[in-house]
Every structure is written in C-alpha cells, then in structure tokens.
C-alpha cells in the first residue's frame, strides 16, 4: 500500500547513486552565536536516521536548512544532488507548526494539501490523490476523524495529522522533528512502525528525538549533534560513553548491563540501547 504513496513520480526520481543528504562544512550563525558549526555528513538513500542531541543542539536548525526555510551562513547543502529549495520530494513536519487551528479546513483537507505540490497549477485533486490521502489518514489512525475541523483535535491527533500529510506528500526524504512528542505510546508505535515499511521503499528519514532508547532500537543510523557533529554511524558506534559525554556533558552515561547497554541520565534514567 505504501508503495503507491511513496512511489515518486518519474520526474522526481533520483539516480540511485546520489547521496540523500550531503552536507559540507555547514555552519549556521544566529546574531553572533553559532547554532551549527562545520557539519559535514553524507546520508545514503533509504536510511532511517535518528537525530539526537541535547536541547539547543541544532537539530531543528539543521532541519530548517534542509527544508530550505533557512539559508546557511556557510557550507554547502545537497539533497539528492539538488539545492534545498529545489528538491521537490521533501516533506517536513516541524517541531511546532504555527498554524491557525480555527481555520475552516478538515483533517482531510490538510492532508490533501500535501498533494498540492504534485498536482501543479490549475489542476484539482483526482481520485488517485483522494485514495492516497485516505491511505495516509488510515496509516496514522485518523481515518475516523477525517471530516473533523482541525481545531477539534487533541495535541497528539494534531501531530498525527501532520505526519499523514507528509506521507501523502510522497517524499523521498522525510524530515520529522520530534514527531513523537506528545503522542501516547500506541500512537508512537504506529508512527515508528511506518518507518519500518519505508525502508523497503528507499525513503530516507531524518527523525529528531530525545528518546535514545528508541533511537538505538529502531534506527539504522544515529546522528549525534551538539552544535558540532559529535558522531554519525550505527547505534553501536555512536552510543559510547565518550560520545555521550561529548554531547550531553557529564549528565549521560552508557552503562553495560546484562540485557544490553543502558543509557542513563544523572539520577537514573530509563532508556535502553
């Protein structure tokens, strides 16, 4: 089913060999202080990458640059070989969407907006678009609320609506900035399960989260940020005590226990790796 949603139309197909995300010496400066410094990184297509790091590490800043909403102060950004705003098939679910919840649109209308980019000017959504939208809604468990005005959703339902929109968009690269924040555990499971299905379709995902356990369990790669790139690699490579100290200071340690490596906060955390 997801095949249809995420099958990029030929016009937007990219050579298999091009790198999904290619950053060279990327820096972003805000009024004097650097939010990102000298980041170089290549992400292969089809990987699911968890972007982790403390608050203020620059995760959202990185996503904004990738989405073409923020111009970097220095360095080069390529997404499937294109400059950020040139890339068609990128879907972004920001950390906090500043939308007006009294807007007279239904959940379905919002998800349908994800199709606008594909339709082009002067064309109206067809049966195919409607099916893709319904599938995306079903995928995040909002099929029953499709006709509801968006203001009547709970915090978690709102988050899922945006994910459905990103799915309907049919992107090659999904940027999800803490999409699980505010979701109940069954909903979190639903979202994470979708990620598994995406792997088969060569859809790349950057997924910001503070849940290191989840990151270690369910992702192909971890990108550990703290203004600079601390580490990028498989969960085993990245979650070392050394790296964690570099990212989180002395407040986070990796401890080997009998059932795996446990990532601990200062006074007893609860995340597994």
């Amino acid at each position: 089913m997801l095949k249809r949603i995420f099958n990029p139309s030929p016009a937007h197909a990219h050579g298999q060999r091009s790198v999904a995300v290619d950053l060279r010496k990327l820096s972003v400066r805000f009024d004097g202080h650097l939010a990102l410094e000298d980041i170089s990184l290549q992400v292969e297509p089809g990987l699911r990458v968890a972007v982790v790091g403390p608050n203020g590490a620059g995760k959202s800043t990185l996503f904004n640059v990738l989405a073409g909403l923020l111009l970097p102060s220095a360095g080069q950004v390529r997404i499937y070989g294109h400059a950020p705003a040139q890339h068609h098939c990128l879907a972004y679910v920001p950390q906090s969407s500043q939308v007006d919840w009294t807007f007279p649109v239904s959940v379905r209308d919002v998800v349908m907006m994800g199709r606008s980019g594909h339709l082009g000017l002067l064309r109206w959504p067809g049966a195919e678009d409607r099916r893709l939208v319904d599938e995306s809604l079903a995928r995040v468990g909002l099929a029953g609320l499709a006709r509801r005005q968006i203001g009547q959703l709970s915090g978690g339902q709102r988050q899922r609506m945006f994910i459905a929109r990103a799915l309907a968009q049919g992107a090659n690269l999904l940027l999800l900035d803490e999409p699980l924040a505010g979701l109940d555990i069954p909903s979190q499971e639903q979202i994470v399960n979708i990620l598994d299905e995406l792997r088969a379709l060569s859809i790349s995902v950057l997924f910001a989260t503070h849940d290191l356990g989840l990151a270690a369990e369910r992702f192909d790669r971890i990108l550990l940020l703290n203004r600079r790139l601390v580490a990028y690699g498989s969960p085993e490579q990245v979650f070392s005590g050394e790296h964690l100290t570099a990212a989180y200071g002395g407040h986070m340690q990796a401890i080997e226990t009998k059932d795996g490596r446990l990532l601990l906060g200062d006074s007893g955390g609860h995340a597994h790796a």
């Binding site: 972004y92 807007f103 007279p104 907006m113 339709l119 000017l121 002067l122 005005q149």
Partner: protein, 280 residues
C-alpha cells in the same frame, strides 16, 4: 411591496448601482475570505488607503482622466503590497505592524502630495466614501471584467492560496512559489479594492472585505461554502443597503456597510457557541 421593490428600479442610477453593489460584494467577499483566514483584516483597509498617493499622482500626471486613475490606484496598491512583503519577510516585524507602517506612510504621502499641489480639486470625499450613484456603464463593465478575472484567479489558484493561508512553511517545502502567490493574493485584494472605490469608497471597503467573510465563517467550517455564503451575504447587503439608502435617505456606501454589519450581528447573536470560555 412590489411597488416598494420596483420604484427604485425606475431610475437608471439605481439599476447601475444595484448591479455594481452586487458585483463588488461578490468580488470583495471571495477575496475577503482569504484575508480573514490569514488574520489580515487590516490589509484591506490599509491597501485601500495606500491608493491615495497613486490617485494624487494620477491627477497630477494624467490631468484626471478616470480610466488612467484606475491604473494609478492599482500601481500604488501593488507598490504597497510589495513594501509590506519586504518589511515582513525577514521576521523582524510582525505582518500587522508592517502593514500599519506602509499604510500610514503611503496615506501621509498622498495627503502631502495633495497639499503641495493645491490648485486642483482632488475629489477626496468621493474617494473616501465612494460614489455608487455616479457610476457609469463603463465602470460597471470594468468592475465586471475585474470580477470575472478575480474569480477565475481564485478558482485557478484555490489550492495554492489555501496552502499559503494555512501554512507558509508547507508552501515553501512544496516548492510552491510562496512569494509570488503572496504577491498575487495582495494584487487580487488591491484589484478588488480599486474596483470597489466607486461603490463604497476607501473608508468602507474594508467592511466589504471583512464583514461578509467573517459572517460566513460563523456559519460554516468549510472554505468553499464559506466563500459562497460570504458572496451571497455581500451581494444581499449591497442590494438591501441601496434600497435603504433610497428609502431612508442614508448615504449609500454607509447604508450598504451598515446592512452588512447588521447581518453579521444577527448571525453572531443567533449562532452562540455551545462552549463557554472563561476569561480569555
């Protein structure tokens, strides 16, 4: 009753006025829906006022040909739209502030231009309050063309304007030409305003943009239905207002706006919400 309805129609100027009021109502209401949804109710009034320097320059340059004035007014509105866009783009100013600054600056420029060239009579009060009774067949033709153009563009860019109004970030990632669309929408607003100048005037055109759309918003939670309702309300107000002006001797622009406001108040009172919010 039938007499009551037919008597005003015996006058040519009433026939023209009713036609113009209906046309303008529909144009403003449809464009107004986007304005209300984007939380830019101010934009209508502001753009309307920024037209003044254009009109003043137009008088000076073209010697007051009516046809030319339309284009001067439009040019001023476009310049203002671009100015507002430039000011609010980098995020240092909120959009309402940007609008406020441009609006006041342009209007002041208009007043200054008029005050320096004193030997001609700019018909300021007509400009402010409209002159629906003095409308010509050409004016109606122009309004009609403008109306068709505006409605066509709204229809053509419906989904793009929707995304733009709802979520600008999304528009950018969808590679919609956000900036262009924004300018287009401002342009549509400007065109709607210039087309309304004859009917309700600068001072009251904001009402035609905001009030019907807001009334419709209270009645439905779907955008297409909101547009339809707003158009109906606006056209109805134009019609009814002109009759009121005829029978109760109230200035016509004001009568139209007051009718519109009255409909809003009625809807607002009758559709009280189920939920009560405590102090907000």
């Amino acid at each position: 009753m039938l007499d009551w309805l037919l008597e005003p129609l015996a006058f040519d100027f009433m026939q023209r006025g009713l036609l113009a009021a209906t046309l303008v109502g529909v144009i403003c209401a449809v464009v107004g829906c986007y304005i209300v949804l984007r939380g830019m109710a101010f934009l209508g009034d502001a753009l309307a006022h920024t037209i003044l320097p254009g009109m003043a320059l137009g008088y000076l340059v073209s010697g007051g040909q009516r046809g030319a004035l339309f284009w001067w007014a439009l040019a001023a509105a476009v310049v203002s739209s671009l100015g507002i866009g430039a000011l609010s783009r980098d995020g240092r100013l909120k959009q309402d502030t940007a609008i406020g600054i441009v609006f006041a600056g342009m209007f002041a420029l208009g007043v200054a231009l008029i005050s320096t060239a004193r030997s001609y009579a700019v018909d300021l009060s007509h400009f402010l309050f409209g002159n629906i009774l003095g409308i010509t067949n050409q004016d109606i033709g122009l309004t009609f063309s403008v109306g068709v153009l505006v409605l066509l563009l709204v229809w053509a860019f419906y989904k793009e304007f929707l995304v733009l109004a709802f979520d600008v970030q999304l528009a950018t990632t969808l590679r919609l030409p956000a900036r262009l669309l924004e300018i287009l929408l401002s342009l549509l607003t400007a065109v709607a305003i210039v087309a309304s100048l004859q009917t309700v005037g600068v001072a009251l055109v904001a009402a035609m943009l905001v009030t019907p759309a807001a009334t419709a918003m209270l009645l439905t939670k779907s955008l297409p239905r909101m547009m339809l309702l707003a158009a109906l309300i606006a056209a109805g107000s134009g019609f009814l207002g002109l009759y009121i002006s005829f029978y109760f001797n109230v200035a016509s622009g004001a009568a139209i706006v007051l009718t519109c406001t009255l409909i809003f108040v009625l809807v607002w009172l009758l559709r009280r919400p189920g939920v009560r919010n405590a102090a907000a």
